[in-house]
Symmetry: C2
Subunit: 143 residues, 2 copies
Amino acid sequence: MDVSVKGEYALRAVFELSRQGRPEPVKIAKIAERQKIPQKFLEMILAQLKQGGYLGSRRGVDGGYFLARPADQITVGDILRQIDGPFQPAKRPFADEPMDSPFPEMWDRVERALSCVIDRTTFADLVERWRQRRVKGVPNWQI
Amino acid sequence: MDVSVKGEYALRAVFELSRQGRPEPVKIAKIAERQKIPQKFLEMILAQLKQGGYLGSRRGVDGGYFLARPADQITVGDILRQIDGPFQPAKRPFADEPMDSPFPEMWDRVERALSCVIDRTTFADLVERWRQRRVKGVPNWQI
DNA sequence: CGAATCCCTAGTAAAATAGTAGGGATTCGC
DNA sequence: GCGAATCCCTACTATTTTACTAGGGATTCG
């Protein structure tokens, strides 16, 4: 019941892109450095997020990655599902197995509970909360 | 974000023990057969649940496993944590990394949401729901 | 005793995870 | 058009985890 490192990296990367509202592309190298992610690994992750339609990119000298849509229209659930696959807590009823069991219903509850958090938390939310804490919290600069 | 097969087996085994309220031990072989679990694998799982204090056992001719306490005092969360380990959705803040991030707070929300289901669902609940559905013949009315 | 059962230690094939390596394709300023 | 900067693509790999299997040892009880 945990998120892969790859999934975490993906979230951090999208957060990094959301943080700077500007539409200019951000280079892989920059994201990797700021979020402490191995660059080559990050390349694969970003490619996957692009093909999911969450990011866009531009090559060349002023190239980089950028959000394909506003941060308030991308949720944590979107990204996690794109990277780690759909998380059904347990395999759905075995095809051959008629064993009626009380678990599928419970897994549904789990899935709904989870969804209430991850599918309702957008990156705009994350940035906002982070800014809030920034202001009245540790005066630890950065950007 | 999924439960291991081992975890599922553990849940099914404890459910099987909860189902027959009787205090007589149930043999591994019986549980394995009724829940379609590889017997030798199940042995390891049950041993783990016993050492967690959830089950008791008796050897010999009328031996078997039994719940170490009433089914309404064992939750799904208990069993999953014992088998799959504590599920923190993502690693807690990296010790060396001061990078203040908006994610720990979100992971807390996830954990709480999850807990609301799995730590409040006892095996007594599961058995009861399962009996209910049994009675009225799976009318399958969903949402 | 001896049959039935749980108990314990090891081993292992396959898959998933977390990367690395090396170069190819675009873009853009000049 | 050249070349530097950047993204893009395919393949490889070491490590860990998963889902078991094997083989016997220790208890219990009639």
